[in-house]
Symmetry: D3
Subunit: 69 residues, 6 copies
């Protein structure tokens, strides 16, 4: 599957924390970047996310902001 989201980066799951509805997933990307995602707990379970799993993070370009000092 190829998706319209412009940003698809490969990484490895570092941590998963579950709430009642949502889960917080930390993914280690190259360049020592840790990225945090909040998805539904049902998705986290459905994708069998756990520490060490190889995943991609997917981010639509409109959801990326820019800041300057």
């Amino acid at each position: 599957m190829k998706i319209s989201a412009r940003n698809v980066f490969k990484g490895k799951v570092k941590k998963v924390a579950h709430g009642a509805v949502n889960s917080e997933v930390t993914v280690a990307l190259p360049g020592e970047i840790d990225i945090v995602s909040v998805i539904t707990k049902a998705s986290a379970e459905n994708l069998a996310l756990g520490e060490g799993k190889e995943v991609s993070v997917v981010i639509k370009a409109t959801n990326v902001m820019i800041a300057v000092e």
Copy 2:
């Protein structure tokens, strides 16, 4: 300023392309990751974004999805 968005990564602007309302900004992050952002043209001009400028990209955790093969 410290923001609630969990993902704030430093990088360097690689390319800016303007439309009438929106601009597309490519930022090079460490680890050879190029991330694409779409912001309003007014913001791109207001932040004086241009090739080589040091910026941060800012992404709210709810806007990060996870995919597996």
Copy 3:
């Protein structure tokens, strides 16, 4: 690829309109539902979107609101 976004629906492209940075894509879903998407023009071109093409629409659950009369 399996994605964390909870909503993935198969349909067929009905119309594509390009701007300078963004494109507007209309997709016909089952049940006579036409759904409108705005993605970057680069993505629309990269996916070779055109009338009649079979695609999936992908929507994260947090981006779905509910309204009542």
Copy 4:
């Protein structure tokens, strides 16, 4: 009320699951499409969402992605 969001579809609530802050609401649309929404629990209660209730789902076009095989 008429809203700028391009996608407004009528359906019927199939399931509501509450967390502490958020609720997950599944809505059955025509064409046998089940769509999942995550909204605040306060909103779910305020709209008195429950199984069988007639609602509309509302999705801004920028939040719809496209994928191809």
Copy 5:
């Protein structure tokens, strides 16, 4: 219509600028707050948005970030 989005504020359109696909709409809220919205041009036309028109701005709570000095 009552919507799940937690933030619905009444205001008056101050300015509309059209691009090919998107339009930028500035709305004056009470408290001398000017809020900027980007919606599709089709929506701006469909809602007949123009200077002075009374509108509401609608923002889902997950799309509001918090920053501190």
Copy 6:
């Protein structure tokens, strides 16, 4: 820090409610506008959000919809 998000408004925290993963933060803006934000609990704690704290709310223009009667 200057951010590309077009909407940055100063206000004061009125209420914070924590869930397992997310927190709901209500901020009082000028003009008697109360705005509700959902951020991760980790962010709410990291920013030390509590009643009375002076903050800014930050909203990207693409996340602001317009409605008319």
